[in-house]
Symmetry: C2
Amino acid sequence: MSQDIYDKIMILAKRRGFLYPSFEIYGGVAGFYDYGPLGAQLKQNVENLWRSYFILQDGCFEISTPTITLYDVLKASGHVDEFTDLTVDCPHCNISFKVEDVIDESTTVDEAVKADCMYCPTCRTKLINPRPVNLMFATTIGIGKTRDAFLRPETAQGMFTAFHFLYRYAREKLPFGVVQLGKGYRNEVSPRQGPLRMREFSMAEAEIFFDPLHKDHDRFSSIKKNSIYLFDNEKEMEISLEEAVDEGIINNPALAYYMFLTQSFLLDAGIDPKKFRFRKHSDDEMAHYAQECWDVELLSQRFGWIECVGIADRSAYDLNAHIQSSGTDMYALRRFDELKLIKRRKIIPKMNVLGPKYKQQAGLIKNALENYIITDEKSKITVEIAGKKILVSPDCYEITDVEEKAVGEKFVPHVIEPSFGIDRILYSLLEHNYQEGKKNNEEYHRLTFAPKIAPIKVGVFPLVNDERLMSLAKDIDSSLRTKGILTYFDDGGTIGRRYARMDEIGTPYCITIDHESLIDTKVTLRDRDTTEQQRVLIVDLPTILKKFLN
Amino acid sequence: MSQDIYDKIMILAKRRGFLYPSFEIYGGVAGFYDYGPLGAQLKQNVENLWRSYFILQDGCFEISTPTITLYDVLKASGHVDEFTDLTVDCPHCNISFKVEDVIDESTTVDEAVKADCMYCPTCRTKLINPRPVNLMFATTIGIGKTRDAFLRPETAQGMFTAFHFLYRYAREKLPFGVVQLGKGYRNEVSPRQGPLRMREFSMAEAEIFFDPLHKDHDRFSSIKKNSIYLFDNEKEMEISLEEAVDEGIINNPALAYYMFLTQSFLLDAGIDPKKFRFRKHSDDEMAHYAQECWDVELLSQRFGWIECVGIADRSAYDLNAHIQSSGTDMYALRRFDELKLIKRRKIIPKMNVLGPKYKQQAGLIKNALENYIITDEKSKITVEIAGKKILVSPDCYEITDVEEKAVGEKFVPHVIEPSFGIDRILYSLLEHNYQEGKKNNEEYHRLTFAPKIAPIKVGVFPLVNDERLMSLAKDIDSSLRTKGILTYFDDGGTIGRRYARMDEIGTPYCITIDHESLIDTKVTLRDRDTTEQQRVLIVDLPTILKKFLN
């Protein structure tokens, strides 16, 4: 069977040290990959480029919260109940499958389960026991008196549960954005597709907290004439951001702004614009928390369009859930221009009923009731205490309409969330930048990485193994490193072979130090893509390279 | 009770957004902390400074491997059996304690267990059931047919299990160094001491692979005259690296070199040299894998000298363990100058005996036998297959002495490991850089962070809320951010109050834009530590600041 690009990239990735299966010496396990020296550096460069867009340019702040997450948090967020895949078992092979993976395009998951005629891809035995299986990795905190916990399925919850701290850090002004980069975990039933479906993966997520009355961005007007690539599940189109919002294709300017920021980042990183599009989720495929969602899809030769970023309007879903479950005041305040007399419906807890009825929990229920905002006229009030929903019977409180002087009104912020799957972006960068051919009758590969994301910036080559050349080359090498430029020192083989080794890992520049260099203090600087060479003064190298690399 | 520095720092850290307990809205759980916007940025700056020492300067390469680690890996490394704390239970409170935490200085763990007279610190009930408890967080990979796994207790194993890839990346030359930064996990029995004893923590580890015959570093001679601060468990001393090696206080030049690199990094980051020392482990306190170990201890007011870095000579322990357990060839080659006839003892497996005896496993055992290096004359040969030790009976193989022409001889590299606890270093940086006093009758705090690690580099202040000033200030702010300088824009309150807010979080510079700025295109640049102010041209700001910040 001939190799497709995926095979070729995975072979190159392993051979050169970008990416390889974890624990291979113990037989490996699907869904886990190591990033080798080049992969880890590429990843870091892409993450830092992402930071330059979301933190330096957009002004979000970054936080870092644990990967181990308490049961209570993920119960409240809906993940304990909803983060599942419908799964079936093969009684013969004793293996489980995700239903989605064993049906063909002519049917849906629901239909297949109803029809009860799925077969094992290996032994063709009839698959049994369809059921939702939770995809979180479970663990336990402590010894003796333990607490249940999971490895986080997303970094987002760490930002929601700290909202009150972050709102204060933002000096109580909306909108503001919080980001987190780090590991996410998903215990896939039967992961295939290599690095595109990992059980432990890297994410970069931003949560932008908005007043729902103002889903706007102060820079939208300066970028609205730019084009964006959309696919509405029927046709692809290139359309201005302004038009997309005006025609209601994208719900609001804030969402449109973050879609543009996302597109700018990915194209800057080196994604092929011809293999890039935004696709809108249809109503039946949205996550349990989403109101509107756009995916960035990147085209891969073997797998077709793959989802690499999701930009969701999560509305007030998560903050509401945590306010109700924890009873913490995580509202924002919409300030009035002056003190105002406002009417509101207020819940007044009756401790004389709550006390005997709920004992130790009465205090928590009282707090939850006081923080409860009555948003509709339904009469049932449910609060969540320590992960359990409690329907509070009407004899425990009174509802009264009160008039109060207030500086503003409380509300639950809405959230727009651009969520990036870093590993899929890295794989796409490898595929979109892969070139192959022959040179001097040998296979030749080139990765055309943008200089700013290339793992190694400069190859440093002494022409021959001569003491003076070696010493000068080493001095140049270490002076570039002192200036923050990652080099690769190579004194083995012909210069042609050294160039080829650097081209194969996407190093944009090479410097050769020859005997002439000892006299004219110049070196040969070679460009990967044009293969053009120029003589430059050693003393000018840092300035020239820094300019090229940005 | 009056607050000590620890209390004051933890209050400041929470109020300003450096660090706060995780999951607090659900009651929290000991040993987990969130890094807020300032803490996460500080952490990233310290990690990047670390990288500049270990990657750019020393030439190590960084990799990134999963936090979830297969049972087989940690069984081989000894963690399943050895990574334990002796634990006792209180039958009354139903809480477990680490024995170390419930005894006083007059006794040792062994003595206390033998004497069987430990009491609960809360209720004084006699503690029972002393036993070693494994401190790894356990989880399970997959659905149905599952694999046991743990969250990694150290990042190191990911570097050992990929040694054969990394050796190839290093083009089969020793020494070379590999680093990893990321999460480590330790399910502490009863964590106290806040951020100094976290259950999920950040580490930066380097594994330097050496030929044991050459534990040297090519830069040792250029740094050997420098001083290092040592404590030999009796007295503290300042001694040159050269002397320390010559007198046998430090085992070898390579170890000494990495101790110096570590000291340079920490002092550069802003650790107080008067609160810094290396302490040598006594034989009975070394980890199960270590041959010689030095800790960096940093002084804290409340906790005394705390261990923040361990620099261990792990010898060939880990690679040996993985070679034996997995049967993978992870040797290095010591090349001869020319082809050489060498004698060696060789195991020749007998498949006709192995086949019937071990069935499916016969092939694995054959590989393991062929890779086995006979190091002593003991006649028993044990191989490890899939985590199980198998004593291979002598009828399964022959041992013969063979003479072969060889390009070199195989050996197991030794490892020197500098391992950094990032969270403890961050706490120490907060404590060592904390200053307090009064200004205008108000409490005043200053963090004297080194500019290169300060989370925010520059405060940008429009003097008054005037449209033209605001617009100019915003332009300056965004142009600095474009150049990679993280700013904090503040237009609230008096300039004095804005300075105080920046001093409190360690921002080294502030810029004030006033009406004069509109005319002379200059702004006031103020230095945190000297409080001196100078007028500088707006156009010169990036250059001036970049110089100050490095």
